[in-house]
């Protein structure tokens, strides 16, 4: 039951993009086509889960026992950067079809604040390892949901006439705001 609430909370109530403001650059940048959005979404779920798990282990086994908590940021970003490199090499060698579909998104993920953000949130909320895994998968899924929905809205927007000043990013942001308003309703349900 607890895990169920954690998952619902991470996907709908506290959606990582629409309520917690994380990962906005790729959210706006890769939401022009549904296909691209799905690829990016899967890449984030995959990397965020691995990153949160590994950083959890690093924090609990390396940083906390040695009183190095203040180095959290630097340790986490290095773990994520090398993880992304490693995943890229691994996929290229071992699973080429997956690399062809996800590969181009991987370099974007090092500077995706959703990944580092999820890892840090798991520490600040003092999650256990299992909670960390569940939360990071759910948050990644929440990111993917928001991204795919926005992409399908934007595909339809291509067919309508919009004032020239609003075209592109401004319109995408306003659409994201309206989506965020819809997700905001889940907050009322949770309370």
């Amino acid at each position: 039951m607890d895990y169920f609430l954690l998952v619902i909370g991470a996907i709908f109530v506290n959606n990582i993009v629409l309520a917690q403001y994380l990962g906005n650059c790729p959210f706006i940048g890769t939401s022009k086509e549904t296909g691209v959005a799905i690829g990016m979404g899967f890449a984030v779920v995959f990397v965020a889960t691995m990153a949160a798990t590994i950083t959890w282990l690093v924090q609990k086994n390396l940083l906390a026992p040695n009183d190095l908590g203040y180095l959290q940021t630097i340790a986490f970003i290095l773990v994520i950067a090398s993880l992304v490199q490693f995943v890229e090499i691994f996929l290229k060698k071992m699973v080429p079809p997956l690399y062809n579909s996800l590969g181009i998104f991987l370099p974007l993920i090092t500077t995706n604040c959703a990944v580092l953000g999820i890892a840090i949130i798991c520490q600040r909320e003092e999650f256990t390892l299992v909670q960390t895994v569940v939360y990071s998968i759910a948050s990644g899924a929440g990111f993917m949901l928001a991204l795919v929905v926005l992409a399908s809205i934007r595909e339809r927007l291509d067919m309508v006439r919009i004032p020239i000043a609003l075209r592109g990013t401004p319109m995408a942001l306003i659409m994201a705001g309206l989506m965020s308003l819809a997700f905001f309703a889940f907050k009322g349900m949770a309370a």
């Binding site: 629409l18 309520a19 917690q20 403001y21 994380l22 990962g23 906005n24 650059c25 790729p26 706006i28 940048g29 890769t30 022009k32 086509e33 691209v36 203040y70 180095l71 959290q72 940021t73 630097i74 986490f76 970003i77 290095l78 950067a81 181009i104 998104f105 370099p107 974007l108 090092t110 500077t111 995706n112 604040c113 580092l116 953000g117 840090i120 949130i121 600040r124 004032p163 020239i164 000043a165 609003l166 075209r167 592109g168 990013t169 401004p170 319109m171 995408a172 942001l173 306003i174 994201a176 705001g177 309206l178 965020s180 308003l181 905001f184």
Partner: protein, 224 residues
Amino acid sequence: MSTLWKEFSKGLWRDLPPFRLVLGLCPVLAVTKTADNGLGMGLAVIFVLTLSNVFVSLLRNIIPSKVRIACFIVIAASLVVCVELLMQAFAYPLYQQLGIFVPLIVVNCIILGRAEAFASKNTVLMSTADGLGLGIGFALSLTFLGALRETFGYGTLFGKSVMWSGFEPFTFMIEAPGAFVCLGLVLAAMNALTNWQRGVKGLEAVEGPKHDCKACGMCNTPLK
């Protein structure tokens, strides 16, 4: 001297980070509930961006190109940890307000983007001007957006009441949906301004800057 001024001033208008380059959106949306928070975040970014540009530029001839990204990340992350410690020691309430977005400065694409696209190719003086200019532009934009949202959302500005007495705060503005819509409208206003200027010169109206991650220079990945 004139080139130095050019590098500095481009960050204040032509390449204004969040509104023109559309970079580093997360803190722009997240910490602009009030003008104070926006300004605090902006100052932290000025510090990290300028010093990261200085160090990258100083070390640009020593750093081997294969590990350059790793070196940039170490430099940026160290500066961020530095900011975290200083903020905890001297501005704890601000640290509480900004929360998770202080450590997240390290993944703000402006920092690594400028290191890769500018500081690793230019002299220390030029890189300082570039970092300061873009940093100040970023800070001013955050403060502006924060002031806008605070005025309508709370009826205050920098904590002081500015609206008439019967003013009903427009709570939408301080919540997440308001952040997105507000930034969207500011970007549209910037585009409209550009098009008006072009119209005066007799040029055709154009669409605003495209947001694709290429702008940050980190990823040369061709995304459609």
